[in-house]
Assembly symmetry: C2
Homo-oligomer: 263 residues x 2
């Protein structure tokens, strides 16, 4: 599939690039802090406005920084109106339905922001890489996902999809750190080693996913993520620009309230 449908190659993007950086690491860190505070204020307004829903999809290999992005970019936002869903292997009941059944249940309501830590893309990536589904089914699922995301978009959902892109060397360092530091053991799973052996296949599968499902209504942003600071800076900037493009506003005041005196 990737050869025909995805001329796009992930290897064309340098994971250590820093296109959003000022060149000064301390300044970048300060910028992330400022952005996270601004995003918190914008989310308050988004919640009050209620005309939109926002779905943020975070994908990326193990150690690519999905948790860190949630903490660094969305961490100052209020739990009022912001939810994270971390997707794991489906339950028996979930497997008895189409793979978008459990996903659809957790999409944001009006005024809410939902962050998917992994997502419905795992339901294509994992079986595709392991050969559990045929290329024809991969194509079918990406068509289904495009239809599903179009439904959400046409019903007021702003969809932002981020692929956190790290190098194989960077992953080795981060996995090793999880092994060497007992306080990081909880993040390590022996399965991660097996998945690392499929590195090239996953890189191809990610590229195919981005090529097949990068749509006008649900675009992908590939984020060079070897630098955690740059990763957060880039994601936060894209989210902020998206908020700004929505022309958020408090709902019009109620003239009747102007005369109201609380006794």
């Amino acid at each position: 599939m990737s050869a025909k449908a995805a001329p796009f190659k992930l290897s064309s993007i340098d994971p250590s690039a820093k296109p959003f950086s000022s060149g000064d690491k301390l300044a970048d860190k300060a910028a992330v802090e400022t952005l996270a505070t601004e995003l918190d204020q914008l989310q308050d307004l988004f919640y009050a406005d209620r005309r939109f829903k926002m779905l943020v999809v975070l994908q990326g290999t193990d150690t690519s920084g999905k948790d860190g992005t949630i903490r660094g970019v969305f961490g100052k936002m209020s739990a009022l109106g912001v939810h994270t869903v971390s997707w794991k292997a489906p339950s028996r009941e979930e497997l008895a339905h189409d793979y978008l059944w459990r996903i659809h249940q957790r999409v944001p309501a009006s005024g809410d922001i939902v962050i998917f830590n992994r997502s419905h893309y795992e339901d294509v990536l994992v079986p595709a890489v392991n050969g559990w589904i045929k290329p024809e089914q991969v194509r079918q699922r990406y068509a289904q996902i495009n239809d599903f995301e179009r439904l959400l978009s046409e019903n007021g959902t702003v969809i932002l999809k981020f692929l956190l892109h790290i190098s194989k060397d960077e992953q080795r360092e981060r996995l090793q750190a999880r092994i060497d530091d007992p306080t990081k053991h909880w993040k390590f799973e022996s399965g991660d080693i097996e998945v690392r052996k499929q590195w090239d296949a996953y890189q191809k599968a990610y590229a195919a996913a981005v090529a097949a499902t990068g749509t006008e209504w649900a675009p992908w942003t590939v984020v060079p993520a070897d630098s955690k600071t740059h990763r957060n800076l880039m994601v936060a900037t894209v989210v902020k620009r998206t908020f700004e493009s929505l022309k958020l506003r408090y709902p019009p005041g109620d003239p009747a309230l102007a005369k109201l005196k609380i006794e």
Copy 2:
């Protein structure tokens, strides 16, 4: 919309026609009884087989016989694996999501049959007739519904959609009966009178729905339903034929079990 997208007119189908009748009412009633018993047995097999899911959509104006169809056709089936969902006006939480959000949650799991008494079609019919959404949105919603039903179909769901088609005279008699018989008062709502005034608009909207969403993967059957016996006979026959087309079977036996002795 109906003029362009729906050359199909409901008025071309006589609500008092009985294409599935033997011509003998008593024989037809007996046939419905027999069919309902067969459907009960087929559903047992469908439940054991578990390769498929079945979604039955019942649409039709007030008094068209949706409840009666569920009782007469599906009434002998076991509650194990068969569920009815009666859709009412959406709640506040449901309205905060796309209109297919609540629908998707209730679609059948593998081996299950779910009967929708009214459905997602109401989310187009009612606002379209009342002018709450524009023709462009009507088209958009039918495209979304086709995509959604294709997703279900491609993931193993057999979809059967029945439009119960009665005449305006027949509805007058049935509504009057609900008023005249105190044991039927619970089925009468004063809103039904208002909806009856929009009869022609609803007939057009139903025809447009059938034309726009009668797909290979989720076909409509328009059921002449002035005769309750004929209505049940026709629906039961279509459901039975569908079961038969699936070549249902018990899952292959486990050879290990052949040797097993319970002590």
